[in-house]
């Protein structure tokens, strides 16, 4: 008797930091069908962006997502600079790379802790987040805020990096490197961690390509696509680094890729700090951006993030389109989840490191009718009770 239970996860669930709604129908412990419902995190940023000047837009676009705010800020600034054909001074480009790599470090450390938490390894969560504080202090030192740094503005950067901060950066990188090497050992050798991570959430290369996966999720299945190397922006063209991939294709593969990337970020920061060129921090940019459009891509911690901005000569953008990396990975998540165990849902979902506040930033309208046919955690429980009774 294959009793199908609908297991609703979200929109409020300890597994998810953000509201998304997965609905799995499961037989026993095997997942048979997975369905996703977005829209809970929807604020309507793009329509609002069309009614504010570029500077005000930057303030809001930076707050699309708490973990990758530098991604959206730099990407938007690049688009505006490309349309206005303004050349960003080298020092600003280097500072942007340093802050971007610091953000990748703190985002990956955050992911490592959350992945540990998802499989019940809370000590790993606590330890990973304790070391993340090192990065947060460095970020706060340079930009003045732990999250949503506000260091970018169209044409360049707002704050400089003093020599004292450069020494601090180097010291912080040494501490982090030693800690991350330890995590690499844990992730590759600790039996219970490996037991929960190896061999599950398999995403083979063909599906990853056809379903358009990006970032560590794709690189974990052997795809060597990294915006920093293939379409270099800010100072990545001048900084040597290598792209980490693994062709395991499972959650362990993505873990290896992310830890490898952290070590790469440390080397990038060290290189950038040593070769920080002198010069101005920003170039002048006119308030009214001439008509034109620009598509800019950025390698966010979760993958390729793309901004598409159209300007119409006034000081307000005509159209702003943001596509966050998680949206690309959501298509391929269904194939990684089918016929896996219920116990593995959290770690597989966490493996693509969903950042839903990015995915959902587009547009929703205010309405007063309160009818809803897809419901929440509580109502779904009633639905699943009715269904289970009917099936029992």
């Amino acid at each position: 008797m294959d009793k199908q239970i609908i297991l609703p996860i979200g929109p409020q669930h300890p597994l998810l930091k953000e509201p998304v709604h997965f609905r799995f129908s499961i037989e026993g412990e095997k997942i048979v069908e997975a369905d996703i419902r977005l829209g809970y995190n929807h604020r309507g940023i793009e329509k609002a962006a069309e009614s504010e000047t570029y500077i005000q837009d930057l303030y809001m676009i930076e707050r699309i997502c708490g973990i990758c705010s530098m991604t959206h800020a730099t990407n938007f600034a690049h688009a505006v600079e490309e349309i206005a054909k303004v050349e960003v001074p080298p020092r600003a480009r280097y500072i942007r790379v340093i802050v971007a790599e610091l953000e990748r470090l703190h985002s990956h450390l955050l992911w490592l802790g959350v992945a540990g938490h998802e499989i019940g390894f809370d000590t790993f969560f606590m330890v990973a987040w304790r070391d993340r504080e090192v990065v947060m202090d460095l970020l706060e030192g340079i930009t003045g805020n732990r999250v949503n740094y506000g260091i970018n503005k169209p044409g360049g950067v707002r704050k400089d990096i003093s020599d004292a901060q450069r020494k601090e950066l180097q010291k912080g990188m040494d501490i982090l490197e030693e800690r991350i090497r330890y995590y690499q050992k844990v992730a590759l050798e600790e039996p219970t961690f490996i037991a929960r991570v190896a061999g599950i959430g398999k995403l083979d290369k063909e599906i990853a390509i056809s379903h358009g996966a990006v970032g560590p999720t794709a690189r974990g299945s052997g795809i060597t696509y990294d915006v920093r190397r293939d379409l270099p922006y800010s100072a990545y063209g001048e900084i040597p680094f290598n792209v980490i991939t693994s062709d395991r294709g499972d959650v362990l593969g993505r873990t290896i890729v992310r830890i490898g990337e952290m070590l790469e970020s440390i080397n990038i920061i060290r290189y950038a700090v040593e070769h920080l060129p002198e010069g101005p921090l920003a170039a002048r940019i006119p308030r009214r951006i001439p008509a034109g459009e620009a598509t800019t891509r950025y390698e966010a911690p979760r993958g390729e993030c793309i901004h598409y901005v159209r300007a119409n000569g006034t000081e307000v953008p005509d159209r702003v389109k943001v596509r966050a990396p998680t949206m690309a990975n959501l298509v391929s998540i269904r194939s990684t989840l089918l016929n896996q165990e219920v116990a593995d849902i959290p770690i597989i979902v966490a493996a693509i490191d969903p950042c839903l506040s990015c995915t959902d930033r587009t547009l929703v309208l205010l309405s007063n009718k309160q009818s809803s046919e897809i419901t929440t955690w509580a109502e779904l429980r009633k639905k699943s009770l009715a269904k289970t009774k009917r099936l029992l």
Binding site: P11, K17, Y40, H42, R43, S357, Q370, A378
Partner: protein
């Protein structure tokens, strides 16, 4: 006996976290408050999964239209003396997204909010100070109606 129960409620506030469409900057800082450097467990605060076990619901984000009804429903499922904490400027007034018309402009439009924690995102120590202020408020209320009846 009432005093003892009041003491117990103040000493072990279990929280549940609800992200009402925010940018998850505040959510990370709330989780950060549980980690070694800021450790909320010193005050007996535990992050609980189900609304059934929680006393305080910490909401972040400007509560967009679709999630507002879910937020209300989760709040109704919480037992006994329950409090709402609005964490982050989005939760207080819609914050950076006040221009987007999809949001209902803050948690207090939906639930009775007991404590506000400003900041975008508030630092973990600000969040701890917020929870502590809520506990202080409980103490004063208790002394107030302690004298009354």
């Amino acid at each position: 006996m009432k005093k003892l129960v009041g003491w117990a409620v103040r000493k072990s506030p279990w929280i549940i976290h609800f992200n009402a469409g925010g940018c998850n900057g505040c959510d990370i800082e709330i989780l950060d408050a549980l980690t070694p450097r800021f450790d909320l467990e010193r005050f007996g605060v535990l992050l609980k999964g189900t609304p059934r076990h929680a006393d305080i619901i910490v909401c972040t984000g400007p509560a967009n239209e679709q999630i507002a009804s879910r937020l209300k429903r989760i709040y109704d499922q919480m037992p006994g003396p329950k409090f709402v904490v609005a964490c982050g400027s989005c939760a207080i007034s819609g914050g950076a997204f006040r221009k987007c018309y999809n949001i209902s402009g803050g948690i207090d439009k939906i639930l009775p909010v007991a404590a506000y924690i400003p900041g975008c995102p508030p630092r973990p120590d600000a969040i701890i100070q917020g929870v502590y202020a809520l506990i202080e408020k409980l103490k004063q209320e208790e002394e107030k109606n302690g004298k009354k009846d």
